[in-house]
Symmetry: C2
Subunit: 456 residues, 2 copies
């Protein structure tokens, strides 16, 4: 299906306007990002100062490229953006304007932004930005980020889309996800959004086969009604999560000087999220935990949680945290206790939480999990695996993953601790289980997966 | 000053009752822990099965040691504990009973626990436990933990004491702190506490020069009045923080089957914490973040927070999170804006949060922080340092630490991200700054340091 956002998400050619040959310059880093991401189409550097940039012929202006370019990345000072946007008229389909210095800086900036908007509209150019980072897209292999890869790693191909008004927020999340090889489909930093908005992107993503879940970082939304409609349609097919920042006094002021956003009343956003079946997130940790959870699991309707652990205290803490977010720690049914009691030493606590103590073995962990999740007593399990107990081996993650697969239910692993433990977290990831470093983050993840069953 | 807990915190000799020569056995791991910790006094293995354990003469029973032992660690089945406690009468000053199988297991266990308690009382033996891990003490070099060091690292010498009803909780926190070289003074896991309670330990720690702050993990307290009195006295000289678990239905039940604790009404605990000036923590993350914050800073009276960042979105998120825990993001005073504006490019947001954008340099970060913290406009600063901006160098942490030292105020660093960023976190630690991996954890830390100024 054709979309008016195809120039951004499926471009055949890209011009980098203001491309510099000087290493370290933002425009040069964008060239490097495009090279590294393996974009297969034409890349045209545009800059009257050079005849060649990074081995590519450099054009003095957009007009001299000689063909209509799908996507132009404007890496130029704010003062030059309007003139170049006029030049782009009829010669460029979509433009990413990374330049800052517009409505986020006050009155003069607002006027310049209006002018830019008008020029784009008149020229028939769709715009992402200004004051943004643009796009990192693993489907189209487009990377317009002006941050070098040694500083901020790009995550692999995956099924989570990120829509963020803040560029640094999106980058930081990507860099964090990359460590755990949690994949993304398309990441868009749209900044002051004079044209392309989260609503436009949601409309595109609703029909995007590469995307299974969408995370939004929002400072302010201009057209609430359109947003809700687009989100509603998208959330029928994908899992949507949103963090709204600028909720309170200082945060609201900061959002306005960050992306010129009018942060608005938080209650209105909450109501809109609810209407559109968007899972409401409370901060950065929620975003990362949500992505971790959704990369390995699909959300479930329900709120009954089983807790299995070898550390009694962790079990108690997790039970508390579950109760506080509306998850229900349903007692283990009598018939399951009768199955498990003869298998385990008498000092194990066979209930929910199920405490396997420091005497635990891989087998017992697996047995406890598979018996508990059998049938329809629980919607999800949290396994708090501490690595102190001497009989646990590196085969534990694969065994737990096997039990999780057989049950068909999400299993969230919590494995807090130091050096030995941190190395073992990778084993859980390799086995396909979502693993978390604190009890609270595991519960955050569980509450996101079960968000339709609980009031977050 | 003499204390009745000296046998635990300052023993001259230690007997390991039930010491085994078989590698992997809990009692053998305790022997190894004591060897590795560098305990300078005598260590006596006691076990009729051996004449020698780990190169040490092994005694068939406590009586044959021939001298009164300060501390005996009982690593024996619950069924043998009472008999051995009777044998210890007059021959042992303090006993750590690690054995489980007492009140946490139900009616029979409760009876056995009563018997153990009586035997200890009659024999004049002070007891930590049963169902506990005992002590890790960097002052006396005592380590009775039955978990090998390759699985759970021990933190270095430091000034934070940990009192925990849950052994695994204490171990996991220690292991986590060890990664960042955050030091502890004394860690006590006291389990079912038939004798030595948190109140006893707090009385001891009140006069302990090695300890500056105390973290408590509590499932249930038996004598509330005594606890409040001991805590009150201790908190006059030290910073006290407590996590109460078993707050809700499932958690309460779990606490009871974990350490036999009667979890009680949470409101009563909150009132007691308030009375005794104990900072109330909400979970594991709070414990770790609190220790990180207090290892590098002293708490402050006040709640005015300055936020300096190079990532606008992070600044907005931190401002929101601050507001939500009662910290006040006071706008930057006009006269400070007038100082900073001529120094910075026009597109920096000179306010609170102060957004230095991706064009930031080390110098500008330092300048912003030192001007903001000068005088008495703020009680604490949160610096959200993202490492994407290309001009930042590895000298940033030392520069920020210098500004923090000159200001005499706590500076909390938040540095979220992936590989490149994580390596730089160590630089902040080395510079003596508390560093956190998410905005939320930085705000948790700030709210703990400013807890006396805010209602947590």
């Amino acid at each position: 299906m054709e979309s008016s956002l195809d120039p951004f998400f499926n471009p055949r050619s890209i011009a980098v306007v203001g491309a510099s040959a000087v290493p370290g310059k933002l425009s040069r880093i964008i060239m490097e990002s495009l090279d590294r991401s393996g974009f297969a189409g034409e890349v045209y550097p545009v800059n009257p100062k050079y005849s060649e940039v990074m081995g590519r012929r450099c054009y003095p202006d957009i007009g001299s490229i000689g063909e209509c370019v799908d996507l132009a990345v404007f890496a130029v000072p704010a003062s030059a953006a309007v003139r170049l946007m006029k030049e782009a008229s009829g010669r460029v389909r979509g433009a990413i304007v990374i330049s800052g210095g517009f409505s986020e800086t006050g009155r003069e900036g607002r006027a310049a932004e209006e002018e830019l908007k008008r020029a784009a509209k008149e020229g028939g150019v769709r715009v992402i930005g200004p004051n943004c980072m643009g796009i990192y897209d693993t489907v189209s292999s487009v990377d317009t980020l002006f941050v070098p890869e040694d500083r901020v790693r790009r995550p692999p191909k995956g099924s989570i889309a990120v829509l963020s008004q803040s560029g640094s927020f999106a980058l930081t999340a990507m860099d964090e996800l990359a460590v755990e090889s949690i994949g993304v489909s398309r990441v868009v930093s749209y900044g002051n959004k004079i044209d392309v908005s989260e609503a436009d992107c949601l409309e595109f993503l609703a029909d995007d086969d590469a995307t299974r879940a969408v995370v939004l970082y929002i400072e302010g939304i201009n057209d609430g009604r359109r947003f809700v409609e687009a989100a509603k349609r998208c959330s029928e097919k994908k899992t949507l999560m949103a963090l709204k920042v600028g909720r309170h006094g200082a945060g609201k002021r900061a959002a306005s000087s960050h992306t010129g956003a009018i942060a608005g009343r938080y209650e209105l956003y909450r109501a809109a999220f609810k209407k559109a079946s968007i899972i409401e997130l409370s901060g950065y940790e929620d975003i990362i935990d949500g992505c971790r959870a959704l990369a390995a699991n699909d959300p479930v309707d329900g709120r009954r949680v089983m807790i299995v652990t070898d550390g009694g205290g962790m079990g108690v803490g997790i039970a508390d945290a579950c109760s506080e977010v509306g998850l229900v720690v349903v007692p283990l049914p009598e018939e399951k206790k009768e199955v498990l009691r003869p298998v385990f030493p008498g000092y194990f606590t066979v209930n929910n939480p199920l405490d396997l103590t420091g005497s635990v073995t891989d087998e017992w962990f697996e047995k406890a999990l598979s018996v508990a999740l059998d049938g329809d007593d629980y919607d999800l399990a949290i396994v708090a695996a501490l690595w102190g107990p001497p009989h646990l081996t590196d085969r534990l993650p694969e065994r737990l993953a096997g039990a999780a697969r057989s049950s068909g239910k999400p299993v969230i692993v919590c494995s807090p601790g130091g050096e030995y433990t941190r190395k073992r977290r990778a084993l859980f990831e390799e086995a396909g289980l979502a693993v978390f470093s604190t009890p609270e983050s595991a519960v955050r993840a569980a509450s996101i997966l079960l968000a339709r069953g609980v009031q977050r």
